[in-house]
């Protein structure tokens, strides 16, 4: 059994390289921790920072538990409204990752389908879609996201705004990142469609949709996986940035970016913990995802942009 495992690990290059790359393993572990912390936040967090009833304004700006002015109820201290910072970070991570994953899911489904079709079908569809992609690519993601966010603010009624903010954010970030997926999928598809196994399918008279989905798609998953990882980091970063700028998630549901924004206001007066801990969390998470992305890029080595 064990010998079998070793043989698999040696033959499977991906697994082999992963098992011999400490940094990648560590990054995977951190990512996993962040993910489970986010998923289990309602059960591991000591308090619910969204529940106004449980927050006491008298507890505001308490220092971390180990410092002199600390309170052992609040491990990492509290923010300006008396929310437990540890709980707020857990919930904030949950929100950040949720928005990140949702928007990446949205962007990848949209981008891959468009890219696959553009690459395989070519012609006018390809020309139009890629022209749009080029224009959008020259508009940086953050600008696109800000713009969509701004439009949503104008269109949506004010009272609905907070409730829909997560959806708006997801769409805004997703729409600003789909181009990466589309371009990658298209470039890989162009390589694959010239391979003879695709011609063999075409000669048989197979339906183009079936060729795309069952033959080409599995072959272009490598580069897409890389973009998926790299862009997850970008999406989390975008969400944090938007929230920091105050145009992201609603204020009563703080994400990491919101916490950092609140923290900056208190940084100069000595309450350093509100800005330090969420920043550390955010950076750790993004570094871990980026290390994984780099690892995947090296292993799957797609020469594509």
């Amino acid at each position: 059994m064990f010998a079998n495992w070793r043989r698999i690990a040696r033959e499977n290059e991906f697994l082999y390289l992963f098992l011999h790359n400490r940094v990648a393993q560590f990054a995977a572990l951190i990512s996993l921790l962040c993910l489970s912390g986010a998923a289990l936040a309602p059960w591991i967090a000591p308090t619910n920072p969204y529940d106004i009833a449980s927050i006491d304004i008298m507890d505001s700006l308490v220092a971390p538990a180990w410092s002199d002015e600390g309170d052992e109820r609040f491990l990492l201290g509290t923010d300006d409204q008396g929310r437990d910072l540890f709980s707020a970070i857990l919930y904030g991570t949950r929100l950040s990752l949720l928005v990140g994953l949702l928007s990446i899911g949205f962007a990848s489904v949209l981008g891959v389908s468009v890219g696959l079709m553009a690459g395989y079908l070519g012609g006018a569809f390809d020309a139009i879609v890629m022209r749009i992609a080029d224009v959008q690519l020259s508009l940086p993601a953050i600008l696109t996201a800000l713009l969509i966010d701004g439009i949503a603010r104008g269109v949506l009624p004010t009272d609905q705004h907070d409730n829909l903010m997560i959806v708006v954010l997801t769409v805004a970030i997703g729409l600003s990142l789909w181009v990466n997926f589309a371009r990658t999928a298209r470039a890989s598809t162009l390589v694959e469609r010239n391979k003879e196994y695709v011609q063999a399918c075409e000669i048989m008279g197979m339906h183009p949709l079936r060729i795309m989905l069952t033959h080409i798609l599995p072959n272009i998953m490598g580069p897409i996986l890389v973009i998926l990882t790299v862009d997850l980091a970008v999406a989390v970063l975008l969400e944090a940035t938007l929230s920091f700028l105050g145009v992201g998630v609603p204020a009563n549901q703080p994400s990491l970016g919101t916490l950092i924004r609140i923290g900056t206001e208190y940084m100069f007066s000595g309450e350093w913990w509100i800005v330090i801990f969420p920043s550390a969390m955010l950076i750790t998470m993004i570094v871990a995802i980026n290390i994984l992305g780099d690892f995947l890029r090296d292993v799957l080595n797609p020469r594509l942009r």
């Binding site: 224009v135 690519l137 020259s138 508009l139 940086p140 993601a141 953050i142 600008l143 800000l146 713009l147 966010d149 701004g150 439009i151 603010r153 104008g154 269109v155 980091a233 970063l237 944090a240 940035t241 920091f244 700028l245 105050g246 145009v247 970016g257 950092i260 900056t264 940084m267 100069f268 800005v275 920043s279 955010l282 950076i283 993004i286 570094v287 980026n290 290390i291 780099d294 020469r303 942009r305």
Partner: protein, 325 residues
């Protein structure tokens, strides 16, 4: 050459038209322009008169044509929030953003390109590895966090540099420059570094990746086999070939710098266009938003044109290809 540029210009016009269409739809359909312009107590009749006077009852195509016409004449309308002409607001802030962007672009290129070449050549070297780890952190730390910590360190703890605003500026015509005063430079330093770091790491990683690819090609191996000295091999042969893709990305990066200046300007309260745009989003100030969009698109189009011309200068294949057509 001329026909090549002409074709690019034609494309640019299409891009600008597309963006102006978006800007127009923003202006026309997001919120009610009349409701924004008048007070609560204005009667329905007066509102209707205003609507007629503004031409909002004309066919959409006429309105769009008028919108584009006004744009090309530099008449950008009035802000809903401050009631000032948008053109004045933008122009008064353009210098701040452009100066900030230029300095951070220079930082990112002057440091990023040599560092990229170095790390591509010295694979596995200690300094190269340190640089690589640094870039990983560089692309992972959000711009605003970098800004906050620079403010904390140099502004608050050490007290060396100002932490907000442009400091003292000198007017050159309508252009307010901070390049001519020491205070201006001191104020510029932290925001420029903040904005430059992300682009710097991107440049470096990109130059490194492209350079490594070029070093694997047959023509580099052949040049190696001919004993061409390493200096010329790396700079004249390899780096010149990496320039083609690198220029594309630098063009895109310029866009990135303009976009991320929004964040930097917010952190440092830098009175530039980005801050203006951010405020316009917060207060749903549609005219400012749409004009900002058009101005940015103009800048991007100019950048892309510049990139194309650079291509032309570097790659003989592009040159000859266009000569054939």
């Amino acid at each position: 050459m001329l026909s090549f540029i002409f074709r690019r210009l034609l494309q640019s016009v299409f891009v600008l038209l597309a963006v102006s269409l978006i800007a127009f739809s923003l202006f026309r359909f997001v919120g009610d322009p009349v409701a924004q312009m008048v007070g609560q107590e204005t009667s329905i009749e007066d509102q209707e008169k205003l609507r007629e006077r503004l031409g909002l009852n004309d066919p959409i195509t006429t309105q769009y044509a008028r919108f584009v016409g006004n744009l090309s004449k530099g008449e950008f309308g009035f802000s809903y929030r401050t009631r000032q002409p948008v053109s004045e607001m933008i122009i008064s802030r353009m210098a701040a953003t452009l100066e900030l962007g230029t300095v951070s672009l220079l930082i990112s290129l002057l440091v990023g390109i040599p560092a990229g070449i170095y790390t591509a050549l010295k694979r596995g070297g200690v300094l190269a590895n340190v640089l690589l780890v640094t870039t990983l952190i560089g692309i992972s730390v959000p711009t605003f966090v970098i800004g906050i910590f620079l403010i904390y360190l140099f502004g608050v703890e050490l007290g060396w540099l100002p932490t907000f605003g442009r400091g003292e500026t000198v007017p050159i015509g309508w252009w307010q420059t901070s390049f001519l005063t020491l205070d201006g430079w001191r104020s510029l330093l932290l925001p420029a570094i903040t904005l430059g770091v992300f682009q710097l790491t991107l440049t470096m990683r990109l130059v490194r990746a492209e350079m490594q690819d070029v070093l694997k090609t047959d023509y580099i191996k052949f040049a190696m086999a001919r004993g061409i000295n390493y200096r010329s091999l790396y700079l004249n042969h390899a780096f010149r070939n990496t320039l083609v893709p690198v220029i594309t990305i630098i063009g895109l990066q310029l866009g990135g710098i303009i976009a991320f200046s929004i964040v930097t300007e917010s952190v440092f309260q830098w009175p530039g266009m980005g801050l203006l745009f951010l405020d316009s989003i917060r207060y749903v100030d549609i005219p400012v938003m749409s004009v900002y969009l058009v101005v940015i698109a103009l800048m991007f189009v100019a950048i892309n044109l510049l990139v194309d011309i650079l291509y032309f200068a570097i790659d003989p294949r592009v040159r000859l290809h266009s000569a054939h057509e």
